[in-house]
């Protein structure tokens, strides 16, 4: 059987022991490209993880007393499920009406998207990106672009802070002292925002990314 090497947060280690199929790998629509990519659900918490793979040619693994070709290294990173829910909310928005979530988050191609509905505190989360109405104890949601842009702006500034603490080099590739116009600080700030915006744009549809850029 194929073996995979994963870097996971420590606390996930005994999840699969605590609960059968405590960890589930599912394919869902990538919120930027729409193509199917692998995510990991920790059903105990529950919590959503993005899976990224480090892929470099000509590698293999020795795993205990076996060899595994390919040498891929998978990373599981906690991910804000709103990015995946947005994908469906925007799609549903075309109908221009308020809808219950279980009619919005449906996908013949990726039926496991309903697992998103099991994630905790969804209502709280959805307030960042939708207008909602309650009719006879049932919640109806409608995508709100301005709320979403406001939410994304917060994401960008959180990412700027994270980039600074983790010393990621965001400087424009080709830079020489001669071109330094204005104060270094303002250029830095702009570089960080541009870089963070680029990262966030990997997780939202193209047109929303363009709106965010203007915003």
């Amino acid at each position: 059987a194929r073996q995979h090497v994963f870097l996971l947060p420590e606390y996930l280690k005994d999840t699969s022991k605590k609960m059968k199929s405590g960890l589930m790998f599912v394919k869902l629509a990538n919120p930027c490209s729409g193509e199917g990519v692998i995510y990991l659900f920790n059903m105990c918490l529950p919590q959503l993880f993005e899976i990224k793979v480090f892929k470099e040619k000509h590698h293999s693994w020795f795993i205990n007393q076996s060899v595994q070709s390919g040498g891929l290294l998978h990373f599981a990173t906690p991910m804000d499920p709103l990015f995946l829910l947005l994908h469906y909310l925007i799609k549903a928005d075309k109908e221009g009406k308020y809808q219950p979530l279980d009619q919005v988050v449906v996908d013949d191609e990726f039926p496991n998207c309903i697992l998103l509905l099991k994630l905790p505190e969804l209502e709280k989360l959805l307030r960042h990106v939708t207008e909602d109405k309650e009719i006879s104890n049932k919640k109806y949601y409608k995508y709100s672009k301005e709320k979403t842009l406001k939410w994304l702006e917060k994401k960008v500034s959180q990412t700027v802070a994270a980039l600074k603490t983790s010393n990621v080099n965001v400087g424009a590739r080709v830079q020489s002292a001669a071109f330094f116009s204005g104060s270094q600080v303002s250029r830095d700030k702009e570089d960080y925002v541009r870089y963070a915006y680029g990262l966030i744009s990997d997780y939202i549809p193209k047109e929303l990314s363009d709106d965010l850029s203007k915003y």
Partner: protein, 300 residues
């Protein structure tokens, strides 16, 4: 012969030698060079020198150190013991080249072939004797490769001596026969006491002479080939006998540089130089992910 250093670590090379007889530092000496184990696909190759004063060559000859090829293993051991007894005028030194050193030299990125390894080892041993103060005036070497070029190289390296490189030198010059006996005794002992770094399960040590055409040796190689790791390091991976078995029995492996070479060899289609028109709209991941070599996992 104390090969304990080799038994401790048999993945590199080890040099050992007799004490230098005092007379050899005073009187002009003849020095012979020969090797053992050049042909086998298993085990180390041993280079040896033996030297003694010109005035005692007759005594050395009297030991009947004739061409070692005609001697049995026991006779070689007895003769080696005789030479050790006559240690007041005979000195020797060895350089044991492990199969791992041979394989990694010959298969390294920068090829270091067996002839160059042999020539450098012989020169190294002659230099070793000089550094110990032996008054070497004549050197006799069994040839490896073209005698003329080898002789010219050694003569250039050791201008103050009279160098003779000849085929069959081990049956012409007693110091070369004596060196040959030292080399063979060392190789026999090393092979017999070989310490396998790989704690193999069903290891049998009945590998025959170690020569590629020996059916026992071939059977042993086929029995001990491991599809991922090849062979124990006792085997010279650079021998075509070993490579032929690996081609058949072992898994393929691709190394970055060999893949790069292959890629260069493949001629690119002329159309690949034309721009491919409008690229598909799939966006590239953010530079952060590209630089870290990270991409979304689309399958497990």
């Amino acid at each position: 012969m104390d090969l304990s250093e080799l038994e401790r670590d048999n993945t590199g090379r080890c040099r050992l030698g007799s004490p230098v007889p005092a007379v050899c530092c005073k009187e002009p000496c003849a020095l012979g060079v020969d090797e053992a184990g050049r042909g086998p696909v298993l085990g180390p190759m041993v280079y040896a020198i033996c030297y003694c004063p010109l005035s005692r060559l007759a005594d050395l000859e009297a030991l009947k150190v004739a061409d070692s090829k005609t001697l049995s293993e026991n006779e070689r051991q007895r003769l080696f013991a005789e030479m050790e007894k006559d240690g007041d005028y005979v000195g020797w030194a060895l350089d044991v080249l492990s199969p791992n050193l041979i394989s990694t030299s010959m298969l390294g990125r920068v090829k270091y072939n067996l002839n160059s390894l042999s020539h450098d080892t012989a020169s190294g041993l002659i230099q070793f004797a000089l550094d110990q103060g032996v008054n070497v005036t004549q050197v006799f070497v069994d040839t490896v490769g073209m005698p003329e070029t080898y002789q010219a190289r050694l003569q250039k390296h050791f201008p103050g001596m009279e160098v003779t490189v000849k085929a069959k030198a081990d049956s012409l010059y007693p110091v070369v026969s004596a060196a040959s006996i030292c080399a063979k005794v060392a190789r026999d002992q090393a092979v017999k006491n070989w310490q396998f770094v790989e704690n193999l399960e069903d290891l049998d040590s009945d590998y025959g002479s170690g020569y590629p055409n020996d059916p026992k040796t071939k059977a042993w190689l086929r029995k001990h080939v491991e599809p991922v790791f090849g062979f124990p390091q006792f085997v010279r991976f650079s021998w075509s006998t070993a490579q032929a078995i690996l081609e058949k029995e072992a898994e393929g492996v691709i190394w970055e540089d060999s893949a790069a070479e292959e890629a260069q060899e493949q001629p690119r289609k002329i159309t690949s130089y034309f721009n491919q028109g409008l690229q598909t709209s799939s966006r590239l991941p953010h530079p952060y992910f590209q630089e870290c070599g990270l991409e979304a996992a689309t399958s497990l």
